[in-house]
């Protein structure tokens, strides 16, 4: 008999459920209880494009060391879905634990003899206690949480406190949830030897961190950043940005005196209209955004080109999912980098912000609105499903009340009246950013005709080559200016001098932090640079020059960030080694460390994602 896994505050538990069965809130309750015990946890929803009936999973990594990336492997499976039983059972690490509903007997052939089997008659317990079918289903979820709490050595009081907060003022719901919790606890206490080899022990590693998802954080950042107009079209995984924006605005943006809204949200007929509304609002001096995912970006590209060329601010939130086409709508990727960075026909380049977690989603949501106004151009916030739709422990949001919105170069009526020269597309300050006027600024001065066709520095239609070149060169100058205004890269150096570097960004971040520790423990030293925006400031080129080999870790097939680095800075491609993970699940530290280790030890061929990456480690 294989030794059962023994681990305190360091294990992966995965819940296999049926979509629409009410398991999501029970599973979140479990994660919150772990956090309340001071133990970091990072959960991930793995769900299909479906409303009800298909399999869904909730994978929670309990990790006192604070690694929030997906680890890979499962120590305990809570197998609540007969449809996926075989695959779920197969996924458990040898020595791991299988938790299941034993109400119906299962033949021995359906189990493994190298894992610990914990059968609890959940349906039987629930049916005995409740008569309503919906209650039987919902409370079965709470009963398994109760059972787990004893198995993993978690106090009932932690859960009871969470219930009390959640059902404040709804005492009936509170009582019935507490009852269900204890049904599960009592059964385990009476029948199963607890706790197991894996368990949760109180510690103090959570601190003042907050636990929230990237989409809510972005929405809140947009509220704080002063967005007043939002236009969107529903698409997974970005819809909850708009929904959260609505929720926060209803709470924070209704004028207490008049009851009127200091915001306007339009659910448009499609993504074309969404971006059109954003451009119209920004052209007219409001702060506006749209949120979408890859397919929406494809539809918006004509307008994005107009915004670039006519120099209209716009904030575009792209919560990336698996592409191309409809692709994997409920899986994660970083595969829209090229389609956003160079969106639209002709020579175009756009600003991208690359948040790593909900904290940066908040920061970059607000920053994007400032940058769009300052640079008079579209600014993309490139989140993804992993950050957007999963709750993640992160630094609390901060805001300086002295912070003023940067509205950029907007010429006032007084300046026009005083005779200040207004050339809408004229570079008067040398930074490539022209001045603009808002409609209705002055009765006779400062009006101009905004268009997507070529024009001279005074916005007069012109097809003269010299006028065109002046404008296109100025746009390049503006892009250079942008490189210094966007969030700058973060660098983490190895403890020893090394000629090996790694570049990564976005949701790869938590897995990368862990991989760097693993590699260092293996005596493999790598300096790391986390990109936080495009265009690249000079420090990116300097970092690459310092190293002989630089790994570029990203979650797409075609090494899009690597292409952008080569394209923008004329880097020798041979120097940049691809580490690519794109099968739809979040990248893991095991995958990154294995890929880098392999190259550093053998210096052989390029590493690419294997169809099933979990065996790589």
């Amino acid at each position: 008999m294989i030794q059962p896994i023994s681990a305190t505050n360091d294990f992966v538990i995965k819940f296999a459920n049926v979509n629409g069965s009410g398991s999501a809130s029970a599973n979140e309750l479990f994660a919150k209880a772990v956090l309340r015990m001071g133990v970091p946890v990072s959960p991930r929803n793995i769900f299909p494009s479906n409303i009800q009936g298909l399999p869904t999973w909730y994978e929670a990594r309990v990790c006192e060391n604070g690694y929030y990336g997906r680890r890979g492997g499962v120590d305990m499976m809570v197998a609540m879905n007969p449809q996926t039983w075989d695959a779920d059972v197969a996924e458990i690490e040898p020595g791991g634990y299988l938790f299941y509903d034993s109400t119906r007997p299962m033949p021995p052939t359906r189990f493994r003899d190298d894992v610990q089997i914990i059968g609890i008659p959940l349906t039987e317990i629930s049916n005995a206690a409740y008569s309503d079918p919906r209650q039987r289903q919902l409370f079965k979820n709470i009963i398994y949480i109760g059972a787990l709490s004893v198995l993993l050595d978690m106090d009932a009081s932690v859960f009871e406190k969470l219930f009390a907060e959640q059902y404040k003022g709804k005492e009936r719901l509170l009582d019935s949830n507490v009852k269900a919790l204890h049904l599960g606890r009592d059964y385990v206490k009476a029948h199963i030897k607890s706790p197991l080899g894996i368990r949760v022990q109180r510690c103090d590693k959570v601190g003042d961190q907050i636990f929230t998802d990237g989409n809510s954080a972005l929405a809140l950042g947009l509220v704080y950043g002063g967005a007043t107009v939002a236009a969107w079209y529903p698409i997974t995984p970005s819809s909850s940005v708009a929904e959260a924006f609505q929720k926060y605005c209803d709470k924070l943006r209704v004028d207490p005196a008049t009851g009127r809204h200091n915001f306007a949200i339009v659910q448009a007929e499609d993504e074309l209209a969404s971006i059109g509304i954003v451009l119209g609002a920004c052209w007219n001096g409001a702060r506006a955004f749209t949120c979408t995912s890859g397919p929406g970006i494809s539809l918006m590209t004509e307008f994005i080109g107009l915004a670039y060329f006519a120099e209209v601010p716009a904030t575009i939130i792209n919560v990336q999912r698996g592409g191309p086409s409809t692709g994997m709508p409920t899986r994660t990727q970083q595969a829209d980098l090229l389609s956003c960075a160079y969106a639209s026909h002709g020579d175009t380049k756009h600003v991208l912000l690359l948040p790593q977690d909900p904290h940066e989603c908040f920061e970059f949501g607000a920053a994007a609105l400032d940058l769009a106004d300052r640079l008079q151009t579209p600014v993309f916030v490139m989140s993804d499903l992993d950050i957007g739709m999963n709750q993640r422990l992160c630094e609390p949001f901060t805001w300086d009340d002295a912070r003023a919105y940067d509205r950029g170069k907007v010429m006032t009526a007084e300046e026009l009246e005083a005779g200040k020269d207004f050339g809408r597309y004229k570079d008067v300050d040398g930074d490539g950013i022209p001045w603009r006027t808002l409609p209705a600024t002055h009765p006779t001065k400062g009006s101009y005709f905004t268009r997507g066709s070529t024009r001279d520095a005074y916005a007069r239609y012109s097809e003269r080559g010299a006028d065109y070149i002046y404008n296109m060169e100025r746009l390049l100058r503006k892009f250079k200016t942008a490189a210094n205004l966007v969030p700058q890269p973060h660098r983490r150096d190895a403890t020893q001098k090394t000629k090996v570097g790694v570049i990564y960004f976005g949701s790869t971040s938590p897995a990368m932090q862990e991989a760097l520790d693993v590699l260092q423990a293996d005596d493999l030293h790598v300096n790391a640079l986390r990109l936080r925006a495009f265009p690249f400031p000079d420090s990116v080129n300097a970092f690459i020059s310092e190293h002989e080999v630089v790994f570029v870790v990203e979650q797409n097939r075609d090494a899009q960030m690597r292409s952008m680095i080569i394209n923008e800075m004329d880097i020798d491609p041979a120097k940049l080694v691809r580490v690519l993970h794109y099968e739809g699940t979040p990248i893991t530290a095991r995958f990154i460390a294995a890929a880098i280790r392999k190259i550093m030890r053998s210096e052989t061929a390029t590493v690419t994602s294997l169809p099933r990456q979990k065996e790589v480690a």
């Binding site: 809204h261 007929e269 609002a281 107009l306 912070r403 009765p443 009006s447």
Partner: protein
């Protein structure tokens, strides 16, 4: 509108309107359209209407899509900001602009290709939402800039200049606007300035989504026999439901009419639309009746013009969204940012 360069110095005897502007102050750049183009007549009517309405030019935002018609906002109201957007997408840009600043007047200028072909979806949805605007389609049934292809409003059986016969059913923008909830719907003819000017004035004073379909013959590609959008055809088949006078709330009403001869419709801003009936049974405040009247008369090949439907008490998107009376683009950080203390509370809720 003008297609000859004129001196920018105004003759001192030019009449000023109530806000101190001459009619010339409402002009724009020199038109680059063909001589005799119906669109230039529409530009002239817009200039006339805005001058007579005593609108300060800079209080108008003019937006358009792509095409001959969409070029025209450069040729009128030179002191207004204009936005020549992308093909078929002016309605969304106008919607956003309107949300940002509810105090300006929005003039959307589009064509039949822009609104009925590539932009049909946005046309329909902007009408549904009740965005406050005057939306003018300069409808010639043909693509001019790409040299004479049929557009989606070309009638079935009408003949192109090269002799091809259109076999597709036409898109009836007036019918769609009526069905989808536009609250001011009219049709006119670029050859009838007397009808256009009061209609444009009515649309610009309207409290909701106002739409005017103006048949505007293309002299170069669609003014031949066999075309149903030529000057001759429209003149022969024009069936006006009424003659319209636009009366501002300040004007004194002097003429008297026999009962039943006129309908007075007072809009939300106090302005009056006085309709002298040409069809005794026509009621322009009945949407369903307007739709069936249109269907019957169009089936006979008539081009029904005039004010077809108006809801004098129309409201707009801002009303349904309950947005701030102060324009959204003028709200400052103090009004928009909930501040640090609120954020600390939100943080606490995430622990």
């Amino acid at each position: 509108m003008t297609y000859i360069a004129k001196p920018s110095l105004h003759h001192p005897s030019l009449t000023l309107n109530k806000v101190g502007y001459t009619r010339r102050d409402y002009e724009g750049r020199i038109s680059t359209l063909c001589a005799g183009c119906g669109h230039d007549s529409i530009s002239a009517a817009i200039i006339q209407a805005c001058w007579e309405l005593d609108i300060e030019p800079h209080r108008v935002a003019k937006l358009s899509g792509i095409g001959c018609s969409s070029k025209t906002p450069d040729y009128f109201l030179g002191a207004s900001h204009g936005f020549n957007t992308v093909h078929g997408r002016m309605p969304s840009v106008l919607t956003g602009a309107n949300l940002a600043n509810r105090d300006l007047l929005y003039l959307g200028v589009s064509g039949d290709g822009d609104s009925a072909s590539i932009g049909l979806g946005q046309f329909a949805n902007v009408m549904r939402r009740g965005v406050r605007m005057a939306y003018i389609v300069e409808n010639n049934g043909v693509y001019g800039l790409t040299k004479g292809q049929f557009s989606a409003t070309a009638d079935r059986g009408s003949k192109s200049k090269k002799g091809a016969v259109n076999s597709d059913s036409p898109v009836d923008l007036v019918g769609i606007a009526l069905q989808l909830g536009a609250t001011f719907v009219a049709r006119s003819f670029s050859g009838d300035k007397e009808q256009m000017v009061p209609l444009i004035k009515g649309a610009m004073s309207h409290g909701g989504a106002a739409f005017i379909d103006i048949i505007s013959p293309c002299v170069t590609f669609n003014n031949h026999s066999g075309s149903t959008k030529s000057y001759d055809y429209v003149r022969q088949h024009n069936d006006a439901v009424s003659r319209i006078d636009f009366i501002t709330s300040r004007d004194e009403i002097t003429t008297t009419y026999a009962p039943g001869e006129v309908i007075d419709v007072q809009q939300h801003d106090g302005s009056m639309l006085r309709l002298r009936k040409l069809h005794a049974d026509y009621d322009p405040t009945n949407r369903n009746a307007a739709m069936s009247y249109m269907a019957e008369h169009q089936a006979r090949g008539e081009v029904v013009t005039g004010l077809l439907y108006v809801d004098p008490l129309a409201t707009d998107l801002h009303t349904s969204m309950n947005t701030s009376k102060k324009t959204l683009n003028s709200l400052c950080a103090a009004e928009l940012c909930p501040g640090r203390a609120a954020l600390d509370k939100i943080n606490a809720g995430f622990r």
